[in-house]
Subunit: 156 residues, 2 copies
DNA sequence: ACAGAGATATTTCTTAGGAAGAAGTTCATC
DNA sequence: GATGAACTTCTTCCTAAGAAATATCTCTGT
């Protein structure tokens, strides 16, 4: 059985590539479902918006330095400047100078931003229950999360 | 213990959102590592390129209709037309008219495209061993792949 | 045979994001 | 103090991809 790809150890190249491809497909297919109908402006919510709102909401004072927020959501500095512009234009985010270090600019959630973050989290969680928890079960979700954490930590 | 988030069932909203966020972080951190130095033009290989090459390579005659390939890699029809232009301009892909249905044009791998696909697969597999298999182990990879497959199938 | 519905690829227009560089700010060292 | 290195943000230019409109082609029903 020289080409058995389902043995209990030593996966072959094709098995590895296929397995990783499956992870991509799963995320590609499911992610659009998980932010459906969250944006109050009618459409769905753009990918990074949710991450930005949630991270700001969790932070003391609902504020974080621009550059740190950019790093946390894996955007370039320039890219995040424009994303912040869009969020600010919609009234969800404001910039605020830091009194002790005049290099840094805080991104701070407006009241409307907080309201949107609350609603987005509730809706996102409901969709997660429907499309992920219902499929994998509580144990499956925890196994997935443990695997993801191991991969993330190893990549740093 | 009304807010226990680590029990054996009924995950809370925050646990679900965090778990899913971890999956995103893991992929975001690892994916760039898995295509490092594959593009012969010096830099790394763009995301969808690898998927396109591999799918074409697996297909009989190394050819597939444009629209089908676009669907398989989750690109819009227009977006894929331009991606095919870029691949063709580099000499990895050629267009070929279908003799039986004059609406469809096949995307077909050139010899250079086949060579690139071979090398990209080998390199990608090596990087998968280093960054994924070494971290999760063979069982971990198979668990991950099973979870991903369940999610993907449920999303369709 | 023919009209219309559906499929297929391309073109055009718009937007999101990355890369490189400029300007201003802080901090450490002399 | 003065100088220079390092950091933060912003601006400009470029590429990638989506959406809508268009042109061809095929198929179906009458």
């Amino acid at each position: 059985m020289e080409s058995d790809t389902r043995g209990t150890d030593a996966p072959g190249d094709d098995e590895l590539i296929t397995a990783w491809g499956l992870v991509h497909e799963a995320l590609r297919d499911i992610d659009p479902l998980l932010l459906k109908g969250i944006d109050p402006s009618g459409g769905d919510m753009a990918g990074p918006w949710f991450e930005v709102l949630v991270r700001l909401q969790r932070s003391p004072g609902q504020r974080l330095p621009m550059s740190r927020l950019a790093r946390e959501v894996s955007l370039s500095s320039g890219g995040f400047t424009k994303l912040a512009d869009r969020l600010a234009h919609k009234g969800y985010l404001a910039r605020e100078a830091c009194p002790t270090d005049r290099r840094v600019v805080y991104a701070v959630l407006t009241p409307q931003g907080r309201a949107l973050a609350d609603e987005a989290k509730a809706r996102h969680a409901a969709l997660l229950r429907e499309h992920v928890l219902a499929v994998l079960g509580a144990d499956g979700v925890r196994r997935l999360s443990a695997l993801a954490r191991a991969l993330r930590d190893a990549a740093r």
